[in-house]
C-alpha cells in the first residue's frame, strides 16, 4: 500500500468507529484527527490495539490564549505503516480537565505530570507525586502564555545591575542588511 491508501484506509476505519472525528490531511506521513476530549481514551486504545499505532511519541499542549482554550495533542506512530497520527482536542482554559491515559501507555504518566505542572492541566485519576521539575514552586504554571516570566524573575531573583544599558542590536543589524522587522517581532524590540 502506498501512503495515500494507508491514509484513506485509516480514515475509513476511524470514521466508522468515531463518526464525529474530523480529519485533516498533511503531506507525507502525517494525519490529524480532531476529536472530543471524551473520545480520547477510546480512540487511542483503538489506534493502539487495532491499527498498530503502538508507539506514543508525545503529548503536547498548546495555549490558545485568545480563544480561552488549551489544545492537547497526542502523537502516535505506527512502525509498520511508518505513519504518524495526531489526535487533537480542545479543552476549556479556565478549568482544564482531561481523561487520564496512563493505563494505555505507561510512559504517558511522565508527560501528564509535565503538563500538569507546566500548564496546570488536570488529568483525572493521575497517580504521581505533585512535584516533577519545579521544586518549591509557588507561582502560576509557567508555560501558560499569560505568565510573565520576566516579571516573575524580577521579583524572585536578584539581578546584577548593569544590564539596563544593553543595546538593541536588532536595529543595527536591520540597517546593515536592509531587512524588515516582522510585525510580530516588533513588540520585543526595546
Amino acid at each position: 500500500m502506498n501512503m495515500q491508501e494507508i491514509k484513506e484506509n485509516l480514515i475509513t476505519h476511524v470514521k466508522a468507529n468515531f463518526p464525529e472525528a474530523a480529519e485533516k490531511e498533511f503531506d507525507g506521513n502525517r494525519l490529524d484527527f480532531n476529536v472530543d476530549k471524551q473520545c480520547i481514551p477510546s480512540i487511542l486504545t483503538y489506534l493502539k490495539d487495532r491499527l498498530g499505532y503502538i508507539h506514543l511519541s508525545h503529548i503536547a499542549c498548546v495555549d490558545w490564549l485568545e480563544e480561552g482554550e488549551f489544545e492537547i495533542i497526542f502523537i502516535v506512530w505506527s512502525p509498520e505503516e511508518k505513519m504518524k497520527v495526531f489526535i487533537r482536542t480542545r479543552i476549556d482554559r479556565e478549568k482544564p480537565v482531561m481523561p487520564n491515559i496512563d493505563m494505555i501507555w505507561r510512559q504517558a504518566n511522565t508527560y501528564e505530570r509535565e503538563l500538569r505542572e507546566m500548564f496546570g492541566v488536570e488529568f483525572i485519576g493521575l497517580e504521581a507525586p505533585d512535584e516533577f521539575l519545579l521544586e518549591d514552586w509557588g507561582g502560576p504554571p509557567p508555560m501558560r502564555r499569560d505568565f510573565d516570566t520576566e516579571a516573575y524573575a524580577d521579583d524572585t531573583f536578584w539581578h546584577r545591575p548593569g544590564r539596563e544599558d544593553a543595546l538593541d542590536v536588532r536595529e543595527e543589524i536591520i540597517r546593515r542588511s536592509r531587512e524588515e522587522i516582522p510585525d510580530f517581532a516588533k513588540k520585543y524590540s526595546r
Partner: protein
C-alpha cells in the same frame, strides 16, 4: 605547636604554595559549560600539568566549578555539595549565567547572581568560556591562593546567616541537614 607570628607566616606560605599546585576539581557539572571541562583536562590543554585534576567526591575536592546556569532545584544540591566539601575549598563561577543570568536573565527558574548564594572566588566570563579562558581562570585562582586571598570559605562561615537567608528566600522548603563546621 607554632605560636609566634613569623613562623606561622612561613607555614602559611608553604601551605598556600602546596595548595596552589594541587587543585582538585569536583566532577560535577551544571548547565552547558561542563562540556568545556573534558577538552581542558585532556591532552590538548592538559590542565593536569598545573595540578588541576578531577576528584570523585565532594570530600576529596578543593574546587567547586559552577559551570553555568543554576536552577533553583540544582542550587539545593550545589549548596549541599559545597557544605560537604572540606577546607580548603574554592568556588569558580563559570560563564555569564553565573555572573548576571546570561541569556537566562528572564528565566523563571534559574538564579541570576551566584555570589548571593555561594562565595565565589573567581569568575570566568564567556558563554561559554573556551579552555584557554578556563586555564586563565585557574591561573588566577592559583595566584589568589598563593597570596592568601582566596578566602571564600571563610567568608561563607562568617556570613552564614546572610547566605542562608538568601538561600532560603528561593528555597522555602528547607529540609537540608545542617553541617557542623
Amino acid at each position: 605547636m607554632i605560636n609566634d607570628k613569623n613562623s606561622q607566616k612561613i607555614v602559611d606560605i608553604i601551605q598556600n604554595w602546596s595548595r596552589k599546585h594541587s587543585i582538585w576539581v569536583l566532577a560535577y557539572g551544571t548547565g552547558c559549560g561542563a562540556i568545556e571541562i573534558p577538552p581542558t583536562m585532556t591532552s590538548r590543554y592538559d590542565a593536569e600539568r598545573l595540578g588541576v585534576r578531577g576528584a570523585a567526591t565532594p570530600r576529596q575536592a578543593d574546587v567547586l566549578l559552577i559551570t553555568g546556569y543554576l536552577t533553583t532545584k540544582t542550587l539545593k544540591r550545589v549548596i549541599r555539595v559545597y557544605e560537604q566539601m572540606q577546607d580548603p575549598k574554592y568556588v569558580i563561577g563559570f560563564g555569564s549565567c553565573t555572573i548576571n543570568g546570561g541569556m537566562y536573565y528572564d528565566s523563571y527558574n534559574t538564579i541570576k547572581v551566584l555570589d548571593k548564594y555561594l562565595p565565589v572566588d573567581v569568575y570566568i566570563n564567556g558563554c561559554m568560556p573556551r579552555p584557554e579562558a578556563v586555564l586563565a581562570g585557574f591561573g588566577k585562582l592559583q595566584q589568589l591562593i598563593a597570596e592568601g586571598k582566596a578566602n571564600g570559605a571563610t567568608k561563607y562561615k562568617e556570613n552564614l546567616e546572610w547566605y542562608r537567608g538568601n538561600q532560603k528566600k528561593i528555597i522555602p522548603n528547607w529540609v537540608m541537614p545542617e553541617y557542623n563546621w
